[in-house]
């Protein structure tokens, strides 16, 4: 029986860019996870619309003889792309669909000069000992400057680093050192929303993607996110897509390395009441990994898990 799929759910996991190390999903151990709670480090990105895969692999004949007869075939190019639109807007969805640096709009300092992706920020707040992935200890005085529902970006100061930057997930690549002390907090994907504030501790709605914060990390309040058409960095992520069949079966598409191959765009869908829903849409190209089982170079895995 062909799987009957109504919709597809998407999941994210980081790629260690510096070491070219993606997150691999093992369908034998985790193929039946509950859709709402993927196994770590996978992060639920919600439902997607218009999930379409494109195979660009070229298979050419190898002919010989007169007249020429195809004796065998060879794969001359391996290529896979896919396109879809996220149903939900969030930091990760915006960053991945945008495909490039995704700036956190840090709260601006009073009188700062205007800037398109965020003016000079208010000085960041150091994290104190005892902070965890969901609780940021900042002390009672500093906590008074934050409010419930506010976004926060948590990362280290920029002290002239180059290369991939951003804790947990690389959010940018710095070819040259920058002087903005807050730059890494501007591009970090290590963000959260404050659920409650009590006794100098900010409790976040969900764990930070980088886990327990390091000792040098600081926290900046943000008012939102911003992406820019035309910047240079390529986001890369390990992706998982799950289609749940009606007989308990499941189709899992796993792309260990995906990069956006489209610019920043939305697709518009009709919504109830005469409204239009803006979906984050994108097209991605799959990049290769070596399957450790036999050393083959592959760009995606499709698994069928029987119900």
């Amino acid at each position: 029986m062909a799987p009957l799929l109504r919709r597809v759910r998407s999941y994210f996991a980081p790629v260690n860019r510096a070491e070219y190390h993606p997150t691999l999903f093992d369908p034998t151990q985790n193929g039946s996870f509950a859709l709402g709670s993927p196994p770590p480090p996978w992060v639920d990105l919600g439902w997607i619309a218009g999930f379409t895969r494109h195979c660009g692999t070229k298979i050419d004949p190898v002919r010989s003889g007169a007249p020429a007869v195809t004796q065998l075939q060879t794969r001359t190019e391996i290529e896979a792309t896919l396109s879809f639109a996220f149903e939900s807007w969030g930091k990760l969805q915006m960053a991945l669909s945008g495909g490039t640096q995704q700036m956190n709009l840090l709260k601006a300092a009073s009188g700062a000069v205007a800037a398109g992706s965020g003016a000079t920020a208010i000085a960041a707040t150091p994290l104190l000992t005892g902070s965890t992935a969901v609780i940021s200890q900042v002390g009672a005085t500093a906590a008074a400057a934050f409010s419930t529902g506010e976004l926060v970006a948590v990362d280290i100061d920029n002290t002239g680093q180059t290369g991939f930057v951003g804790s947990g997930v690389s959010g940018a690549y710095l070819k040259n050192a920058l002087t903005d002390v807050d730059y890494i907090r501007r591009i970090t994907l290590n963000v959260g929303r404050i659920a409650s504030i009590s006794e100098g501790a900010l409790t976040l709605e969900s764990p930070l993607i980088a886990g327990v914060p390091g000792a040098l990390m600081k926290l900046s309040a943000a008012v939102g996110f911003c992406d820019r058409e035309g910047s240079s960095f390529f986001q890369e992520w390990s992706a998982l897509f799950v289609g749940q069949g009606q007989q308990g079966e499941r189709v899992i598409w796993h792309y260990p390395r995906l990069q956006a191959m489209s610019g920043i765009a939305e697709t518009i869908a009709q919504a109830a009441g005469g409204y239009e829903k803006a979906r984050l849409s994108a097209t991605f190209r799959a990049l290769p990994v070596k399957d450790p089982v036999d050393g083959e170079t592959v760009v995606c895995f499709r698994s069928y898990i029987a119900g």
């Binding site: 919709r7 919600g46 439902w47 619309a49 149903e87 939900s88 969030g90 919504a271 109830a272 009441g273 005469g274 409204y275």
Partner: protein, 168 residues
């Protein structure tokens, strides 16, 4: 879903009362703004004139977002015989006035309202503001109906809300 319905009614009642404080009804011995939700009142064959009667008629869900979205069709019926002083010859004008009030209440620049949970009111507790807002579309006027000496119309508007599982 009930929180969305209650919130929309509260918005409607508050805005209509502010717009025309003189439009009131007496219901179960209480004078109140001239809007009621039929399903919240005693079943009756008597149709009150010169007030807005809210009916929730259809519902549809969209489960694909972070939070499921529910769309509720709200039909607002109203009718008038005009005034006895004018022998009902002003019934068209009275209906136009009600059209204008409804239009001004619903088709505003801000078509959202913070969703609240009113359940606590039944036990003396406070109204509980929620984390999301309801929103609604444009009001669509139906044709005028003639009901004996009254002119009647139904305005329809779609009301949308994000629904948490905890609201079920």
């Amino acid at each position: 879903m009930q929180n969305a319905k209650d919130t929309f009614y509260e918005m409607l009642r508050g805005r209509l009362a502010a717009l025309n404080p003189g439009r009131t009804i007496v219901l179960r011995g209480v004078v109140r703004p001239g809007v009621l939700v039929e399903e919240n009142e005693l079943v009756s064959t008597v149709v009150l004139p010169d007030c807005f009667r809210v009916n929730w008629t259809q519902a549809a869900g969209d489960p694909d977002g972070d939070l499921a979205t529910i769309a509720l069709q709200c039909e607002i019926e109203y009718e008038t015989a005009g005034t006895a002083l004018n022998g009902g010859m002003d019934r068209g004008r009275a209906l136009s006035a009600m059209d204008a009030e409804l239009q001004a209440t619903i088709n505003t620049d801000t078509q959202t309202a913070l969703k609240s949970n009113y359940k606590g009111l039944t036990t003396g507790l406070a109204v509980e503001p929620m984390a999301t807002s309801i929103w609604w579309g444009q009001l669509v006027f139906g044709k005028v109906e003639i009901k004996d000496d009254r002119l009647a119309r139904t305005g329809t508007v779609m009301v949308m809300s994000y629904e948490k599982t905890s609201e079920l």
